[in-house]
Symmetry: C2
């Protein structure tokens, strides 16, 4: 049985952070949205990262299953990506005129992504989901957008909830929210809003937080695709989180349909800062007609990194590799749970698996188990899907399962009756 | 008289770009929003950049007065910034937990910027102007936002115009737009909307496009600041473009007032991809209460670059240096114009000067002069302010003025009567 980590430096530095940064560490990397429960089980800061590991500021190494919440797909500091980035950096990055690397990257995406006739680059997932929705409104001259419950499409006011701080009714009054996998509801909203729906926006499967992740039901996407086409609405796929972990040709391709617009970010350049909206030819002029740009959007280094990342992912057949690794880990974790009398549910596609200990509806047992894993060097988090990267080895998986067993043993002793 | 450049490679590559990218090159780096008139005078692509120069793909060197539209403040590839970025890159960039470098950068901003009690980091100027407006609504529980005509605060739907593609009435119906420097109008909108105005958002002076830039009138900011305070509305300064080129303590400090929220981007890290919202202590909990994050927002390399950039700007007394260089250039360009019988208006703060040949209200003569400068290696653009960087030397200024004289001579010969 390994000893539990403690984090005295993290506690001290968090106080320093909280003095000059709202929430200390905000957003998904922070204690609140990152679901670090209890906070004292989590390292909070990193001192360095390499391959599938990061090291915290208290001297502990973690096998990292969050992968910077997605961007790390080849391993931190991947040598091929770093070499390509360094070469471009010598020439120039953020300059007055863009580099030809931008064109090379757009051509590679068009060649790689099935539903891409063009690519438009920005910086955040939110930049491109927002552009997609604005483009749908510009193209259709309609206002309403259909979402699926459990969605996350970024932090733009249009995709937040009315009870969130700073959000007005005007921001969200054209949003319609229906249940995932409910074709009847899709039919109903089209019937109830004739000529009113600009687009459906959806993740390729339901990989929401605080819920078992749910794949599309048989025939779901085919029917949704047809309903959009028949009703003159666009189908927007938000592949920010799942992109390149299911299929390099796009997660719509993985599920056998074609989006009109598809949004990429996270895994597109192994952590270099770029996002992309790709789409069908008939929407290219609409995008051209819009006012949409940003200070660093044509910086060349992330494009060079993105090219190297996608080429290496192709060479590795990366999605299959990650799905196989994730499936192996899921099998062994599930078996470990069973050995200690627990029921571990693993849902979603294995390259971005979601975990839930199903023995306790309050989720507290789950949080205790996650905490004991983290305290021994396996960086999981609560109530959010995890991510596999290509640098994860069988030895890392074996070590993960050993630590997970330690954690199961601890919570079994603590809760003999569950 | 220098020969005019031609750009056969750029023309060919632009066709390639237009095949896979909407508009070929979009936004402010592209022919349309970049105001490249006539397009064939401009190089369109860069092959490398160093110091105050970039080189295009047809083998020409340009003295660059757009500075990547702002980010280049110390010179492309500044050795101190690059060294700091490289050191951090060895340790880690976009990782699952943030680095302590984030805290160091926040502390440095709080120490440097007069109105900053805290800092919140994102990626684009638009991310932080949007957060500022949402925070004002969250804090005041009011909806209306006051803008000054000629504003640009990014590409969020809330700050676009109703006739722009994809924009709905709901997006902009709470916007009130008044004239710059019109205190009476500020008083009037507060009187007409009692308890309704969440914030005034403004650039520190009017550096809009297609107009001579206009400094604040005597007492303007003092009165606006008082009206905001008296009416319980926030004062948001959008320092994305002017930030660190007027005063390292913030452009509000330069003009003798304090913002409640101030937005930085562009020059904050010499081209590394980061933006910041800074603000007053009473708003820190409001920011904490909001849902706002993005994939790469806590990447460490841009923070390290930002620290090195701000420290070097302090050492150089950068705003004064840039203002002096800009003033010298403005004086010599104005004299050159006079020598050829033209009236060149230079407006705005000299570190981000705006140019207009005032002899022709159609602006076509201005565009011809700019084009002849660009074709000889001085990268100006039409109808947008320019930017000075610290690597610009007296020799560069002398070369710029020589080329500007060539360009004046050409248009004088072409239009003897103007």
């Amino acid at each position: 049985m390994r000893d539990a980590f403690t984090y005295p430096n993290a506690a001290e530095q968090f106080r320093r952070a909280a003095n000059v940064i709202p929430s200390g560490v905000y957003g998904h990397l922070g204690p609140v949205e990152g679901c670090f429960i209890p906070v004292d089980a989590f390292p909070l800061f990193s001192s360095r990262a390499k391959g599938t590991y990061f090291w915290d500021i208290d001297g502990h190494r973690f096998i990292d299953y969050m992968c910077a919440f997605g961007p790390n797909i080849l391993g931190y500091g991947d040598p091929d990506v770093e070499e390509a980035a360094a070469k471009q950096r010598e020439r120039g990055d953020c300059t007055t005129a863009p580099s030809l690397t931008m064109i090379d990257f757009a051509e590679l995406l068009v060649e790689t992504v099935a539903s891409a006739d063009w690519a438009f680059f920005a910086k955040n997932g939110n930049d491109v989901t927002t552009l997609a929705v604005m483009a749908a409104r510009a193209f259709t001259h309609r206002k309403k957008i259909v979402f699926f419950k459990g969605y996350y499409h970024g932090v733009g006011a249009w995709t937040q909830k009315i009870d969130y701080a700073g959000i007005m009714e005007e921001d969200v009054q054209n949003n319609i929210c229906i249940d995932w996998n409910d074709v009847t509801a899709v039919e109903r909203v089209f019937a109830e809003n004739p000529g009113g729906i600009a687009a459906i926006i959806a993740q390729p499967y339901m990989h929401g937080n605080f819920m078992d992740n749910e794949l599309p039901a048989d025939g779901f996407w085919k029917k949704v695709r047809k309903l959009c086409t028949d009703n003159g609405a666009l189908l927007i796929v938000d592949d920010v989180r799942a992109g390149f972990r299911l299929d390099l040709a796009g997660s719509d391709h993985y599920f056998g349909f074609e989006a009109d617009l598809i949004c990429f970010c996270k895994a597109i350049a192994n952590g270099y800062n770029v996002s992309a909206l790709c789409g069908k030819d008939f929407l290219k002029n609409t995008i051209s007609s819009m006012s949409y740009t940003g200070s660093y959007w044509m910086s060349a280094v992330p494009f060079a990194a993105g090219i190297a990342c996608i080429e290496k992912m192709k060479k590795l057949d990366c999605p299959k590799l990650l799905i196989d690794k994730g499936a192996k880990l899921a099998r062994e974790l599930t078996k470990a749970a069973t050995d200690y009398g627990f029921n571990l549910r693993v849902s979603g596609v294995p390259s971005l698996f979601y975990l839930r200990l199903a023995d306790d509806p309050s989720l507290m047992l789950h949080q205790e188990w996650i905490a004991e894993c983290v305290r021994r060097g396996v960086f999981f988090t609560n109530h959010h899907n995890h991510f596999i990267n290509a640098a994860l080895t069988d030895a890392d998986i074996a070590e993960t399962v050993d630590i997970a067993r330690d954690a199961f043993e601890i919570i079994r002793e603590r809760h003999p009756g569950k």
